[in-house]
């Protein structure tokens, strides 16, 4: 904690030195921030798991050569072995393949949900925090009302109204995430808005737009990004829950929640049908949480 002041005697500028400085890009700076992260084994593992899930969502055929819909009554309910890594379900379908193909639907649903939450929550939060006054009060009341409706129940109501399926479930979950998002965004905007450097920028002639875009948003996005990552995991769990209850995509679609719901009936004799897909979900969500936490620590 030695103060560099005592070390650097006040230097006068040397004319030749002017040429040695050039502006270092923002890209360079972000790269140097990312490098230490890559040295942490937990983080790398978490990113690998997420990468696998995303690959499964976009190109499931690359990860498994079985057909997720091909039934094979002879092989029904076999335990995990070298051919069927996760075993088979009651219709003889390879469970691992079903899980991989299910990633597509589940990840899509979660992305849509988080997308809705981001758009709705960010705009409400920024508007509320930036504008203040009446606008802020009204939006906050609205958010209080939304928060009084428990997440799953709100989703159930929406699904009752607009029907079942992957997209309705995603919309329902997304709407439920909006209030929490808006609150966090608003809190961050309020915090940064009152910091001295924002005032300094305004006194230096910056317009509100410039202040918002160049100062407030870049400094407020940290906790919001962390929350978005966490909410992605929560969205996966919520959409899985809704499809577990029977409101997701109709069979034979392989959403993760539906897979687990199917396997319920065979829990005693063939527990892997329910439990292994669930384990995969746990791995994905836990990795997301880990990434979010690492980002949070980095930011502090």
């Amino acid at each position: 904690m030695t103060s560099p002041e005592n070390v650097v005697a006040r230097p006068r500028s040397v004319p030749g030195a002017a040429a040695t400085w050039k502006r270092r890009g923002r890209l360079e700076r972000t790269l140097s921030a990312v490098r230490p992260l890559l040295q942490r084994p937990g983080f790398v593992l978490a990113v690998a798991v997420i990468g696998f899930a995303l690959l499964a969502a976009m190109a499931p055929g690359a990860l498994s050569h079985f057909d997720p819909y091909a039934t094979s009554p002879i092989d029904k309910l076999t335990a995990p072995n070298l051919i069927h890594w996760f075993g088979t379900d009651e219709l003889g379908r390879d469970l691992y393949t079903r899980v991989v193909y299910g990633a597509g639907l589940s990840v899509q649903a979660a992305l849509l949900a988080v997308g809705i939450a981001l758009i709705g929550g960010l705009s409400l939060g920024i508007l509320s925090g930036f504008a203040g006054g009446r606008v802020d009060a009204v939006i906050m009341r609205l958010i209080d009302v939304m928060l009084a409706l428990p997440g799953l129940l709100l989703a159930l109501a929406i699904v009752t109204a607009i029907g079942f399926g992957t997209v309705p479930v995603a919309i329902a979950v997304g709407v439920g995430i909006v209030p929490g998002f808006a609150r966090t965004t608003r809190a961050e905007v309020l915090r940064v808005k009152t910091l001295p450097y924002v005032e300094a920028a305004r006194l230096g002639g910056a317009s509100w737009l410039r202040t918002l875009v160049r100062h407030i948003l870049p400094n407020a996005w940290g906790p919001v990004a962390v929350l978005a990552t966490l909410d992605f995991g929560a969205a996966i769990l919520a959409t899985a829950g809704l499809s577990f209850l029977g409101f997701g995509a109709a069979p034979p679609a392989a959403e993760w929640g539906t897979l687990m719901s199917n396997g319920r009936h065979f829990l005693m004799t063939a527990p892997w049908v329910s439990l292994l897909p669930g384990l995969f979900v746990v791995a994905v969500v836990f990795s997301l949480n880990h990434i979010a936490r690492t980002l949070e620590e980095q930011h502090r």
Binding site: R141, L142, D144, V145, M146, L147, A148, L149, P150, G151, L152, L153, L154, L156, A157, I158, V159, T160, A161, I162, G233, A234, L237, A240, G241, F244, L245, G246, F247, M260, G263, R264, L267, M268, P271, S274, L275, G278, V281, V282, V285, F286, L288, N289, H290, R293
Partner: protein, 316 residues
């Protein structure tokens, strides 16, 4: 103080009214054709009816009134406890609720107790331990609690404790031991939240300057923890409990379905499956009421615990 009380109660009622209205909007105004949904819920196909029958059906369901009229009559009924009739079961909704509520309350009650014991216990253990690796490992456990789907956990617990070990029954609601597994399952997400917030709270409080003052008096580490750190770190817990009501209700839907319990949660699942609108509206309204009431109580109790709120200082 009573002016503050009135203000908070009024605010709570406002939020409750807002919640009811939003739910009404979603269920009655969002769908394309509310009438056909309600008819199919009752087992009748709209195409099979003559226009005269359709008009009669509309009048029966109260859908022939204007939107505002319909809303007000529903709201009026709800305030008096009359939530209409279930479309699929043809019974008054309030009757159904009264029948099923005790089961859910038992479950939720035990779950809250278990989650508090688990969450607070884990956080206290993390603070008490001094060996770094164990401390770090314990600090990661709540994240695991967040990552696990409630229903999967339930299935896992059934598999291990009911089928393999045979300690507890897997389903049903006949006796107390049937309550253990469902309550534990329901308790885990809340316990994870309490544990994480408290862990962070302990860490934060430990760095406060008044902890140094306490040490300087000659107190031991244990004494400082008990008398100064612990109480101040657990202050936010009360607010958290209020917020967790929503999660508990949501979780109850899943848990009751898995464990085949006859509670309000499973009623909700069945109602949604059959698009039984009045039941869904009633359940959501009652849950919102529970949330609002509990949080109001928390708001009113908080000053008793935190003197900074009760004794407002003069503005400097």
């Amino acid at each position: 103080m009573s002016r503050y009380l009135l203000g908070r109660v009024a605010q709570a009622l406002l939020v409750l009214w807002g919640a009811y209205s939003v739910t009404y909007f979603i269920l009655y105004l969002l769908p394309g054709d509310t009438l056909s949904i309600m008819l199919s819920a009752s087992g009748v196909e709209i195409d099979a009816l003559s226009p005269a029958d359709i008009a009669k059906a509309k009048a029966y369901y109260g859908l022939d009134q204007g939107i505002v009229q319909q809303y007000l009559s529903l709201l009026g009924g709800a305030i008096q406890g009359d939530f209409g009739f279930s479309l699929t079961l043809n019974r008054p909704v309030s009757e159904l609720l009264v029948e099923r509520l005790p089961q859910t309350l038992q479950l939720a009650g035990l779950a809250i107790v278990l989650s508090l014991i688990g969450g607070v216990g884990l956080a206290y253990l993390t603070a008490y331990v001094r060996w770094q690796p164990l401390k770090v490992a314990l600090a990661r456990v709540p994240a695991l609690g967040f990552s696990v789907p409630v229903f999967w956990m339930g299935l896992l617990l059934i598999q291990v404790f009911a089928f393999s070990l045979g300690w507890f029954p897997a389903t049903g609601n006949q006796n107390f031991s049937a309550l253990i597994l469902p309550a534990t399952t329901l308790a885990i997400p809340s316990a994870a939240v309490y544990a994480q917030v408290l862990q962070r709270g302990f860490q934060g409080v430990w760095k406060e300057p008044y902890i140094v003052t306490a040490y300087a008096k000659g107190l031991s580490r244990g004494q400082v923890q008990r008398r100064h750190a612990f109480k101040n770190a657990t202050l936010p817990l009360l607010t958290l409990i209020g917020l967790q009501v929503g999660n508990t209700v949501s979780g109850a839907v899943l848990v009751e379905t898995i464990f085949a319990r006859a509670g309000v949660g499973r009623l909700a699942q069945e109602a949604v499956l059959r698009q039984d609108i009045p039941v869904v509206l009633a359940i959501v309204a009652v849950s919102a009421a529970a949330f609002v009431v509990v949080n109001l109580l928390v708001d009113l109790l908080y000053p008793a615990l935190d003197p900074r709120i009760a004794h407002t200082p003069k503005v400097s």
